[in-house]
Amino acid sequence: MNRRELARSLSSAESIDCPKRTMEPWRVLGVTGAPGVGKSCLVDRIVSQWLDRGERVAILAIDPSSPVSGGALLGDRMRMSSVDGGDDVFFRSIATRNLPGGIPVRLDRMVDLLVHEGWTRIIIETVGSGQSEIRIVAVADRLLLVEGPARGDVIQAEKAGVLELADLIAVNKSDLQGAEKVADEIRLSLNFSDNEPAPVILCSAENGDGIGQLLDTIDSLPSARGPAIARSRERLLAHHQEFLLSHPDFSDVLKGFSEGRLNIEEAFEILRRG
């Protein structure tokens, strides 16, 4: 499959016909974190280092669709200078198309195809807020949470959720004041958990500090990771959601429900029958 055929096939991931990827060796890095912590710039750094190490890198960058118009403005690639040249890097912007949870099932098939086509590293960059941040664990082999200084109380901001599922945490912008303190706070919070705490790495996408260590740590993570139940749960929920959303009458049912001609039980009953 040439590059153009690959790009076309990714548009209709429902019809992708390729073997399911194996879980070993690991291939898929999910990158999540609040807007403004520097996810895209950090991904740019990671991509260039992986390219230097001889990997073939594909990036899937997810941005939200407008709930009003259904359109989307996909601007992640403008922040990544490493992705617009060379045969060993592929960048695709993906709109959520208003599937809550950020289209994990379709994403899963896209990743299968990319792996099948010989891409050795796949990075999924998430929207940066909302439920999709947790759903990403249904697809990623490893989950990197990006934090930064000057975001207020990190622990308060994260509450329960993605911090517990992350395999490692990068505190970006280590060139700015306060990064060290944020890293300490996160380490402290992780130490309360029963599980082996996820590594916390200080780094700077701005000047490159700590990026090598970050990548080495990602590589050395144990393969049998953390809360398998949580991951499987997200996978199952994502699948169910996709099932409901792909019902041929979904928009009619939605309309009927929103206009009050169907109650919620009736609406669900129709969709559930598939």
Partner: protein, 149 residues
């Protein structure tokens, strides 16, 4: 089945909103050495609000990069914005490289400061439409709505 036939009845009723079955994927690109992207960003935003998926390339992309982006993103449309005066070289170059890459089904439109006298040559080179200052967003949206893929 009562509920299902009830909802069947709503088909064809207009909601007043415009919901697209499958949005167009549109690359908005800034070719060459030109730092002015207010216009490109306004266009990107307007097309998003019309229900399309818009990929913005950022400033100073080469024609080769733009074609590459259009391919990887599986775009149906490429919009080129130039205010530097180099459109006479850059726009045809993008069209040519798209053809070379087998992407001649991609529709190219242009915008920015494009003097009237330069336009025939650009159309000749494959630019389907040129939207200068004063163009309303609905003119562009209508143009896109009328495209057939």
């Amino acid at each position: 089945m009562g509920a299902l036939s009830a909802i069947r009845g709503v088909q064809g009723v207009s909601t007043g909103g415009h919901v697209m079955a499958s949005p167009l994927r549109i690359v908005i690109a800034k070719p060459g050495l030109d730092g002015h992207d207010r216009g490109a960003k306004v266009v990107a935003r307007a097309l998003r609000d019309a229900g399309h998926e818009v990929i913005y390339t950022g400033l100073r992309r080469t024609p080769e990069q733009i074609v590459r982006i259009a391919m990887d993103e599986d775009a149906q449309v490429v919009g080129l914005s130039s205010l530097s005066g180099a459109h006479g070289f850059l726009f045809p170059r993008v069209c040519e490289l798209l053809r070379d890459a087998g992407l001649d089904d991609i529709v190219v439109f242009g915008g920015g400061i494009i003097p009237e006298r330069d336009r025939p040559a650009l159309h000749e080179a494959g630019v389907a439409a040129i939207f200068g200052p004063g163009t309303t967003s609905s003119e562009m949206v209508t143009f896109l709505d009328n495209l057939e893929f």
